[in-house]
Symmetry: C2
Subunit: 313 residues, 2 copies
Amino acid sequence: MKNYVFGVDIGGTTVKLGLFDTQGNVLDKWEIPTRTEDNGSHILPDIAESIREKTKLIDRDSIAGVGVGAPGPIDGDGVVHRAVNLGWGTFSIKDTLEDLLNLPVMAGNDANVAALGEMWMGGGQGCRDLIMVTLGTGVGGGIIVKGKMLTGFTGAGGEIGHMHVEDREEETCNCGNKGCLEQYSSATGITRLANRLLASCDRDSVLRQGEVSAKTVFDAVKARDPLAVEVAEKFGKYLGDTLASIACVVNPETIVIGGGVSKAGEVLIDFIRPNYEKNVFCGSREVKFSLATLGNDAGIYGAAKLVLDMESV
Amino acid sequence: MKNYVFGVDIGGTTVKLGLFDTQGNVLDKWEIPTRTEDNGSHILPDIAESIREKTKLIDRDSIAGVGVGAPGPIDGDGVVHRAVNLGWGTFSIKDTLEDLLNLPVMAGNDANVAALGEMWMGGGQGCRDLIMVTLGTGVGGGIIVKGKMLTGFTGAGGEIGHMHVEDREEETCNCGNKGCLEQYSSATGITRLANRLLASCDRDSVLRQGEVSAKTVFDAVKARDPLAVEVAEKFGKYLGDTLASIACVVNPETIVIGGGVSKAGEVLIDFIRPNYEKNVFCGSREVKFSLATLGNDAGIYGAAKLVLDMESV
């Protein structure tokens, strides 16, 4: 009888780990540093060591396995194809960690895995077809189709932050292209939109009183600052239009908005939804919008769920 | 032992039917009229009657079942949610036809089913992750993920013809929105782009010598008519950009171009690919482009394959 499952979320500075029961209750949760030196070769051994510590008191036969989310394209076989932030090239996370732990391992891209987590125990609970968009430093995305992650041919499925949304952009995105969604709808992107608008005019705004951030923009929106509202409208147009395009492709039941920017709350959806509804195909108009609820834990939840499902689309 | 499978493609005027062996060889192929009167209530009984005729000489136990493609949103359970062209409301195609035939039935949207057909025996053979775009009177789309159709929550998956690509459009698309891909990249859309350009200038062009169509435009492109080339460039920009967006979402191995417009040949891809490559996320840049090879038979092939797979994503 399998009673336990581990979920691991590898970030650029910290690895989050969680021990779950098979119903999705967190029994334990902890972190270890991500050692990216030596091409990240210590990361998986460190994780294995940390899990071995925890499993001393658990019957190994009761452990379903270990799920892993990591930042980079990871295909359906658990092979990562370069994860720059971790120093990783191309190798099988699944095989490597299975050898270290002698437990079943599943691996997926962190944003895809977070989407699975929100579907399982978060803002998308009860849905099997959803889009999750994570608005943080960048824009991450995860697509869930009939309950499974859409990983794509080489693990680059759900990279919605790099959908092209603006032909007139002159600055280059981190990915090398110009005019990606991420340049307008991430925390950084919202700040950029605000600073551009502030520099282009001398209209009064509370945003002129201190450092501009996605948080100060949406705080100002709540205080009805007209310039901040204009920034939010631009943000909502880019993101709403893009989500409408994605919905034409995947026809979701729910769209979950997560990441640091989502702390602004329902007001975000007020700026996204009208643009979404204007442009989406009628068959996908009745979508539910919801906010993510698992915060930084979405990754460990989704990683655990990946093992419980044991196969991704 | 199941040796045979039927594939049925319901169009607005004609129903195409095919009898296949399980390796994908067509053993027989025929058509019956689509009787749309009386809310399309004769369509499925007519199909059942036609199949019963053919099965008189076949051991029923050797028939795997009947697959059906139809124009409208059809969910994973084989339920159609209004098919305007056929006069249909909402009902289960699967249950209705199973009752009539006493054989297993699977059903899907015609464009999605055609994509499955091209994957199985056409331009996408050997691939399990593909986008098919059908450039006909409208623009249809089908997304295949790990070998299965992406049907979506209510059967509206793959409706890429209604992705919003132009904010400045003033004419309304058939779907009720403005600025859909279909308005620029279908046969009708290409004709529209050409007529608009011809009306906006008095430049010389062979297109001024007769009625303009997608065919005359691409014939003129092959004859290096500069105005026709400009039309093809606009077409390629809209379609290439949109395919790049879709690829960011689903990370395909192959993109198959089908429909009447695809008869123009490889020249189409020459106008699509540069725009695609410019804007797509690096992880999806190495995609293969190919032309559909099954023509109007893609639907019956895909419908047959749907039965052989017996479950869609």
